[in-house]
């Protein structure tokens, strides 16, 4: 049963990920990315990470994708199609890199992980729940949590400053 769920979600994620980088129209790419991220959220649930699955849907599949779609619609569909064929060797180079990495990765996997069996550790019912992850966030990881909220604030202000008209105007 778990295997069936995993295979369905994995298939969904990989196919939509491939579609994301294949569509010509960025709007379709964004929608494929939503499907991929939702599939990943389902996989998080199978990994007993319920809180993270909720975060994935809220932050990624909602906020980030809305941002993407707004920007795509704002800029319009790019008509400058000649530029996409400038570098013909890139697909071959990319394929080669991916093949090499797959070979390396499977070799590492077949060798086995030291100190880590392939079977899962025994966990309690509240593993990955909002309460336990929240406890970790405000106790053990309090400083990184505060720092990352600061980073989020800086990123927000930075984004607002960058898009302001006249920011890039030269001031001699």
């Amino acid at each position: 049963m778990e295997m069936t769920v995993f295979i369905v979600l994995a298939f969904l994620s990989v196919v939509s990920a491939v579609l994301t980088i294949l569509w010509r129209d960025p709007v379709w790419s964004a929608f494929s990315l939503v499907v991929c991220l939702l599939g990943q959220a389902g996989l998080y649930v199978t990994l007993a990470a319920n809180f993270l699955a909720a975060m994935q849907i809220l932050v990624y599949a909602a906020a980030v994708i809305v941002l993407f779609v707004v920007v795509v619609k704002l800029l319009g569909f790019p008509t400058d199609s000649a530029a996409s064929h400038h570098v013909k060797f890139v697909p071959y180079a990319g394929g080669l890199v991916v093949l090499l990495l797959v070979g390396k990765f499977t070799k590492v996997l077949m060798a086995g992980q030291p100190g880590l069996t392939s079977t899962s550790a025994t966990i309690g019912d509240d593993f990955g729940s909002t309460a336990t992850v929240g406890d970790l966030l405000v106790q053990q990881f309090l400083l990184p949590f505060e720092l990352i909220s600061l980073l989020l604030l800086v990123a927000m202000v930075g984004a607002a400053v960058i898009v302001r008209r006249g920011f890039w105007r030269e001031t001699p």
Binding site: I21, P26, S29, L52, V90, T119, A121, T122
Partner: protein, 103 residues
């Protein structure tokens, strides 16, 4: 709850997602789709973190994945702002056309 799906299935899937994102980053010339490919790569890395957290029975991995999600949101905001700013200057979204730093 699980136990039936081995760890390396999750790792292989996370690698596939990462490789897809990397390929998109290398092949596509549209900056918006390159940003989306970057989100794919972050998602793949996140899945590996989550799988290790589950199979080691350690929730610290999930906290780390939470930080990655926040970072991805921040990166998306700044990246899209940069795309808008650059589009205003060059009037195109194709990265091959962005051929001057100053101007």
């Amino acid at each position: 709850m699980i136990g039936e799906v081995p760890l390396y299935y999750y790792l292989l899937l996370s690698f596939l997602l990462f490789a897809t994102g990397m390929l998109g980053m290398l092949v596509r010339r549209n900056v918006l789709i390159m940003l989306m490919a970057m989100q794919l790569m972050l998602g793949g890395a996140n899945l590996a973190l989550m799988a290790y957290a589950r199979f080691r029975g350690d929730e610290a991995g999930q906290v780390m994945a939470f930080f990655v999600i926040v970072l991805a949101a921040a990166e998306g905001a700044v990246g899209l702002a940069l795309v808008i700013a650059v589009y205003r200057h060059f009037k195109t979204l194709y990265i091959d056309r962005f051929n001057t730093l100053k101007g």
